[in-house]
Assembly symmetry: C2
Homo-oligomer: 484 residues x 2
């Protein structure tokens, strides 16, 4: 039963398992105690810190173990912002950071600070120049992920780190998705990681604070882990985390090359096998093991269940698969289709034959979901797919939106579709069904109150070549001009 959701969590690496079980016997005591059990625990902790620091490329005394990657990010943001309070209270983040960073940013804002989100292009990457321009006077901290967790796009971290250094602003790098593969280049100041993403056990994160970085840990004081991670340490898991990081790094180059080839195959084949698909994320500057695509006229949750029944575990950024009813903020920031979204993230050791079987099963799974929803017919390999690799669609849509202002009065050939109260992907399906009923140049207005429509209707227009004229002032109507 192939598990293709490595970006969520990876099964324990054999080295992690072995180290964890051994450390249960050796590392259960309090490393702050003077007795032999305490000294033994201290030695294990020191050795684990040394190992992890070597893998990260930092000094051991710069690295603390936290209970999770999320807590490393929360503490990293709060501590760096508090430490730089005199410099200002402005925080700069990319729009596609992990929710842990965005939640920390929201807490900073609630506390009276200000936050700027740097936009990304259609591939999901920030522009280093735009990021540098956002480092205004009073910026206490900047945050940028090493690679995106949903679409796999690598960020230009080294360049952004240089720009931050030039501006005198510390950069916090969320390296959760990439630390299994390599250390992070560039003069960053803080870095966070999460062991269960690299095959270590859950319950262990890393927070690195470079010497010379001002840092004031938030919350009640605690003498452990340089005051940056309160609570009795999770030593057996820490030992396992460090040992497995070293182990996965030893295998990283070969495994990355192997998985990259498998992902390339998925990127190429999926649009050939399934119609109306948008493969998203940078095709070159990306994590070796992640590929994400969205399928028009597909309910993401239904597709996940269909794939699950076929034996494949994947995840989705579609709104219908989460509790929030809003599509993934990453897909939204990229301006790409969110409906029928599937992320395939291959764990180390993923087998070629399982990937082939996935490619064989996917068309039937998509077709069955589309049939249930009464979606329009889709032909594989439709011209729209070529835009998936980060074409100029987003800017086109933006121009189209401006153009709409000038053409408000030419609506004699108009039609309105009421999709109020329906959820993704129904509004887009209803639109697709009627677009042929207006003449070329005619306008369809879709009434829809599902959050995803705001993203998916423009994305559909870009894929189909129609002109998106923009949303109504109340955000529950969308106008589309038929192109051909």
């Amino acid at each position: 039963m192939p598990y293709f959701d490595a970006a969520s969590s990876v099964p324990l690496h054999p080295v992690a398992r072995q180290a964890l079980v051994a450390a249960l016997d050796e590392g259960w005591a309090d490393p702050a105690r003077l007795h032999r059990e305490g000294r033994r625990a201290r030695m294990l902790l020191d050795a684990a810190r040394q190992t992890a620091a070597e893998a990260v490329g930092c000094r051991p005394d710069e690295l603390t173990f936290t209970p999770s990657g999320t807590q490393a990010l929360h503490t990293g943001v709060a501590g760096a912002v508090a430490g730089r309070r005199r410099a200002g209270r402005h925080l700069v983040v990319s729009a596609v950071e992990h929710s842990a960073v965005l939640h920390a940013a929201a807490a900073h804002e609630a506390d009276g600070g200000t936050v700027a989100e740097v936009a990304v292009g259609r591939t999901g990457a920030v522009d280093p120049g735009a990021f540098a321009a956002a480092l205004t006077e009073g910026t206490a901290l900047a945050c940028l992920q090493s690679a995106n967790h949903e679409v796999g796009t690598e960020q230009p971290v080294a360049g952004v780190a240089e720009a931050c250094r030039a501006a005198g602003v510390p950069l916090l790098v969320d390296a959760a998705q990439s630390l299994a593969w390599d250390a992070v280049d560039g003069p960053w100041s803080l870095l966070a990681g999460s062991a269960h993403k690299w095959g270590g056990p859950p319950g262990v994160g890393l927070l690195v604070v470079r010497k010379g970085t001002r840092f004031a840990p938030p919350g009640p004081s605690d003498e452990r882990e340089s005051g940056r991670a309160p609570g009795f340490g999770n030593l057996p898991a820490v030992v396992a985390a460090a040992a497995s990081l070293r182990a996965v790094r030893a295998e990283a180059a070969a495994e990355a090359a192997r998985l990259r080839a498998l992902v390339d195959r998925v990127r190429t084949r999926v649009p050939e096998l399934v119609g109306d698909v948008e493969v998203v994320g940078d095709p070159v500057h990306r994590l070796p093991h992640v590929v994400t695509f969205s399928c028009l006229y597909v309910d993401g949750e239904a597709l996940l269940h269909a794939l699950d029944r076929a034996g494949f575990s994947v995840s989705s950024g579609s709104s219908c698969t989460s509790s929030t009813l809003t599509p993934s903020h990453v897909l939204r920031a990229m301006g790409v289709l969110s409906e029928g979204n599937v992320r395939v993230s291959l764990p180390p050791g993923a087998r070629e034959e399982d990937v082939e079987r996935f490619l064989a099963e996917l068309p039937g799974a998509v077709a069955s979901v589309r049939a249930q929803l009464g979606a329009p017919a889709s032909a594989p390999g439709a011209p729209a797919d070529v835009r998936a690799d980060g074409g100029p669609d987003a800017s086109e849509a933006s121009e189209a939106s401006e153009a709409s202002e000038a053409s408000e009065d030419a609506e004699e050939d108009a039609l309105t579709v009421d999709a109020l109260g329906t959820l993704c992907p129904v509004p887009v399906i209803e639109l697709a069904k009627v677009i042929g009923e207006v003449p070329v140049g005619g306008v369809v207005t879709v009434l829809a109150d599902d959050e995803a429509a705001r993203l998916d209707i423009p994305a559909w227009c870009a894929m189909r070549g129609h002109t998106y004229l923009g949303a109504g002032p109340d955000g529950t109507s969308y106008r589309i001009r038929r192109a051909a």
Copy 2:
């Protein structure tokens, strides 16, 4: 090699080990995911929560798993105080709470709140009436441990919880030391625990927030664990924690009776075997497995090392064994001797013959440390020891201190000992050496700048029957009147 430091951390219970290893294979995925690995993880998490809730005596939806007991306490205090902000910003804690509670209280104070510490008697217990009297208008939260971690004294939690309910103030109970033995009685509102204290793995704490308790979690938002514990959960450890809590509870009554008898033996025999010893903590209302005593004229760290060489792992609240240079706040609040302090805490399964061997080794270990320090001779079973069970020494010392005001001028038979720059237990040793050089009624002034002297000189006076006249205004001189 007997490990007698169970109150710090207990080796993994066999059931915890078994459950943890099994859950490494079954419980590594994200329980929020829809695929089969996620659903399996969710089932394990739900079952663990049900099991833990049964042991605590709460509803499963009242219980969240945190990364540590410390984080449960930090979040519990901050969340309850924030939730009750309208009621006021006053926090009431006992003076002998775990440092995690006192650090949370200090953070509350730094944030503009107020804190009152309820004093304890010589046994280490709060008086329920005094605690109730401290619940003044504007009290947002009260905190009381179920039992003390350093001296084993049980607190009158049920009565204090009733008083809190009557006053409309939520009570947070730190049950870290007692949860292995039993659920906590009384109408408490919040409760915290720590798995590695009951034989579960490190990396798991419990925070229980009763329905109807106002609670606003601190820090950045996170959808997991009711928003009370951000970060990817440590599921294998959570499963092991819950399974082991159920397992230790099944054995608790029999094991408690057995350990209680061993501790009673230590309490009785130590003063018979070693001179100038004060056994501290309540002799009856106490944890079954903890006994603490302090030895005059002994360097706690040296004694710990001597016992470690003899094969026994214990801990100490003496200042010379910690990094802070101040003696344990618990011993200080109790007003008992802090020098040469030893805490023996027996893990489940501790063997009678090991306890006997400890009793056989202890006198030699103490004697060797005293000899190194050139301490006065001590005779076992000295009368001072009978005061150890909570006699009126503390109030006597206080009266003596008041009496000192009236006798400032009768100092013709006086002597000054300069112990400035020396550390515990040297100032007390120097005092003991010269007390015979002044006549009965004569006064010795000790100059000492070690923090521990403030506690140990009055305690020595109480043990020896001399009159403590008080400290000088700058806190580096102490006056003692020879009694006999």
